[in-house]
Symmetry: C2
Subunit: 99 residues, 2 copies
């Protein structure tokens, strides 16, 4: 299992609209092949900074299948206008499963 962590900084004042757009986009992830979960986290220290956390069955489910799909185009159309800069995307997997 792979965790996608996308750090997204939004334009000042667009926080509520961005969160609404992500809410609207939930079904795009829910129906994506290999997508296990998604949620949006918001930073306390930098309130215009978010982290989209998406669990994928495999890396390719995100980087190949999802990014090559119509759903990705729709996702970016919904949220892209709120981005202050390109998202920084990283993939991780569990090294130590604590509790």
């Amino acid at each position: 299992m792979i965790l996608e962590i996308a750090q997204i900084d939004v334009k000042p004042g667009s926080e509520a609209a961005f969160e609404a757009a992500v809410t609207q986009a939930v079904p795009l992830f829910k129906t994506a092949e290999g997508c296990i979960s998604m949620e949006l986290q918001r930073s306390h220290e930098k309130p215009q900074r978010y982290r989209l956390m998406v669990q994928w069955r495999t890396l390719e489910d995100h980087t190949v299948k999802f990014r090559g799909s119509d759903a990705f185009t729709q996702w970016r159309a919904l949220v892209g206008p709120h981005f202050a800069s390109p998202p920084e995307v990283e993939h991780t997997s569990v090294a130590v499963k604590g509790f």
Copy 2:
């Protein structure tokens, strides 16, 4: 509920020792007041980069109680020697709970 995300870059070659130290430190978090979960994620793109993800009941459970405890001193004694640079710590909370 608060998610602590600590980005930790370790010294080259110390990955296995760092992961072992984090495993050894699990009980320090498990017994900490307000600590709900912890796990260590490792980056695919930058294999010396980790993200410690810890869920806390409140921000203060981490920043005041845990950081002021003996457990924190023990935690840093275990993992600190492997740090390539000071960790970058951020706190987030859920903005959109997808699925």
